[in-house]
């Protein structure tokens, strides 16, 4: 009977796609009950991490006594985000939370926010602002650090292969700030005797990572690759399957970043060796920062959210306790 539901959902989705254009309306409530209004320019449901992150922010602001207006975009469309942002400025909300899809292109909007004296808090992805007027609008950035995650991966390899090792890096699509930061973290900490034979992009995709890894394992068979650093879980899971097919399971250590349930399960099963979390749960910290700032207190300009690292035992504990939101 589940299938019937699915069929209905299919039809509904087709209808929804047609009527997508008619979204994004609904006038926002001004602060009538003395509650502070906060606008949240969001990315929208995009998969495990994003959904957990945005739901957490929504519930945290609700419990902190704010009136949060949630405005997601579709398909990573920055234009929609800019429109939502400008609308919040025109409505004179008390603060804006910005989870941007792109790191550039925000100067004009931020300038308007600065003129209207609306504080902006960037979450998760940082924005790159050139204009000094626009910079004033941003009070603080809140989120986990991609560089830190890359550093952890390098340190794991350093620790496990004190005598040096060969391996590969699977990157995300070229040009993204996440890719650059995770790579920079790795470069900063990796020991001299650890040799990266090749870095290839597998576009965050499991399927592509499998193909790429199979190719790399063939190419560098003679150099005995011992580790693979996949910049996200999806690619790590694909790499694990290629390693398994080549009969090297357990001989090649695979390190991934993100910490989704599937990756933790793979860690318990021995397919992966180390998972570095990119913690999406920081609604409380964000709400606190906004509250402090509006209450006249000083707020740090960069609030780094702590993430965990997992090996097989701690992954099992985390899965058994069922405490993971994603």
């Amino acid at each position: 009977m589940k299938n019937w539901k699915k069929a209905v959902a299919l039809v509904a989705s087709a209808a929804a796609l047609v009527s997508v254009a008619a979204c994004g309306s609904g006038s926002s409530s001004s602060s009538d009950s003395g509650k502070k209004t906060v606008g949240f320019v969001a990315v929208g449901p995009e998969g495990g991490f994003r959904t957990a992150n945005e739901n957490d922010i929504k519930s945290a602001f609700k419990s902190a006594g704010f009136d949060l207006i949630y405005s997601p975009t579709q398909n990573n469309d920055q234009q929609k985000q800019i429109q939502a942002f400008n609308k919040f400025v025109n409505d004179e909300v008390d603060a804006i939370i910005l989870s941007s899809t792109e790191d550039s292109g925000w100067d004009e909007s931020l300038k308007k926010a600065a003129e209207a004296e609306i504080p902006v808090f960037t979450v998760d992805r940082n924005v790159d602002v050139k204009d000094s007027e626009a910079k004033k609008a941003i009070v603080s950035h809140i989120g986990p650090s991609n560089e830190w995650a890359g550093e952890q991966a390098a340190e794991f390899v350093n620790k496990n292969f004190p005598d040096g090792a060969n391996g590969f890096i699977l990157e995300g699509p070229a040009g993204l700030s996440v890719v650059k930061d995770r790579g920079a973290g790795w470069d900063a900490k990796v020991a001299k005797n650890v040799k990266v034979l090749e870095s290839q992009s597998a576009n965050w995709s499991t399927d592509e990572a499998k193909t790429v890894t199979a190719g790399l394992l063939d190419k560098y068979k003679s150099q005995n690759p011992q580790f693979i650093f996949a910049q996200n879980d999806e690619m790590g899971l694909g790499a694990a399957q290629a390693v398994d097919a080549a009969g090297l399971k357990g001989k090649v250590k695979i390190i991934t970043i993100d910490g989704t349930k599937n990756a933790l399960q793979a860690l318990v099963d021995g397919d992966l060796s180390y998972v570095i979390e990119y913690n999406p749960i920081f609604g409380k910290e964000t709400a606190q920062a906004v509250k402090d700032y509006l209450g006249g207190k000083d707020v740090k300009s960069d609030i780094q959210i702590e993430s965990k690292t997992f090996d097989a035992t701690s992954a099992k504990e985390a899965l058994d306790s069922n405490s993971r939101a994603y």
Partner: protein
């Protein structure tokens, strides 16, 4: 007698030279040579007890080419009716999502495969009905299906990347993508068999001729008694069905659907394979064998990128350059270049003779 034989030989040789497939095969061999120069073990094959089949760079390349073979075959038929099917990549995602979701929902593996194929066929039929019976433009119709399909895949999995790795009893599907038949990748064998079946359907019956007739002039073909609407409907339906098979190959290889990435950009690869294969985008004559070799070339280019270790930022450019070079090699002007030179030389020598 000897002269005649010689003449026949040169004729065969000329025919071979002028064939598109020859150029394609040469391009494929050149790519393989390039890889072998960079990696001397590129052609090496070994037996992998773990998977029960041959292993080596060429084998993984063939494994990847299976999905391109499927969508390129469907695309060839569609393009030869002067249409285009941009939705194949999305259909792959939808079919893969349906299969993975059904498996995690506890459905029998064969039922899940069937479900995926039926969904692919259904999407193809919708495309076909809109193009053939309502007369919508193929480009717009399938473009909309390409956008809607991604959304559909997301709805099926509720936006997650469904993982069916640990579902028990899914071995047949896993084998389809990762298994081996007599040491050769099963998905490649399946794909080749399907291409041959489609080829027989087209060439042993009048189907192929009907398709070409519709592509050249639908009105004229109608007057000769062909039913262009039915033919159009059929080619889009076949394309959707084959795309569903490609979707199963792509998702079953990792037993995981990635609603955003599965089949992404593959409609372009399919079109490239068809064009490299010598089928004109304007419709008419088509070559399934050409498209099939084109599909293998696409997989080979991707393999070359990994083997050569081309920087990830430069891979799209590399891909484009190789495709353009192959297209230039096939251009009639370039292909006739040697004949042209010979003719000129002959002309010159005869002129000299006259002058003397």
């Amino acid at each position: 007698m000897a002269d005649k034989k010689q003449e026949e030989k040169t004729n065969v040789f000329k025919k071979l030279l002028s064939s598109n497939i020859t150029v394609e095969v040469i391009a494929l061999i050149l790519l393989i040579l390039l890889c072998t120069v960079f990696d001397h073990a590129f052609l090496a094959l070994s037996w992998n007890d773990n998977t029960g089949g041959l292993a080596g760079p060429i084998i993984t390349m063939l494994q990847e080419s299976a999905r391109y073979l499927m969508i390129a075959t469907g695309m060839t038929l569609v393009i030869s009716t002067a249409g285009i099917d941009l939705s194949v990549g999305s259909v792959m995602a939808v079919a893969g999502a349906a299969a993975m979701q059904a498996l995690t929902g506890g459905m029998n593996v064969w039922a899940a495969i069937l479900l995926a194929l039926v969904i692919g066929l259904a999407v193809g039929c919708i495309n076909g009905a809109l193009v053939a019976f309502l007369g919508l433009q193929p480009f717009i119709t399938t473009l909309i299906m390409m956008l809607a399909g991604r959304g559909l895949a997301k709805v099926i999995t509720s936006g997650e990347n469904t993982d069916a790795t640990s579902v028990a009893g899914s071995e047949p599907l896993k084998w389809m993508a990762n298994g081996f038949i007599l040491g050769i990748p099963a998905n490649f064998v399946i794909a080749v068999v399907i291409v041959i079946l489609v080829g027989l359907l087209c060439r042993k019956t009048a189907m192929g001729m009907f398709i070409e007739a519709v592509g050249i002039n639908p009105e004229a073909s109608r007057m000769t008694g062909i039913k262009p609407k039915q033919i159009l409907f059929l080619v889009y339906a076949i394309s959707g069905f084959l795309a569903a098979i490609a979707g199963l190959f792509a998702t079953a290889s990792v037993m995981r659907v990635d609603v955003v990435k599965t089949g992404q950009d593959l409609e372009m690869y399919a079109i490239l394979a068809v064009v490299i294969g010598g089928t004109s985008l304007l419709g008419g004559k088509f070559s399934l064998a050409g498209s099939a070799v084109g599909a293998v070339i696409i997989a080979m280019i991707r393999k070359t990128i990994i083997t050569l270790g081309i920087d990830s930022a430069a891979t799209p450019a590399f891909f484009a350059v190789v495709v353009i070079v192959i297209c230039v090699m096939q251009a009639p002007k370039v292909r006739n270049l040697s004949a042209e030179l010979k003719r000129k030389r002959a002309l010159k020598s005869s002129e000299k003779a006259v002058a003397a």
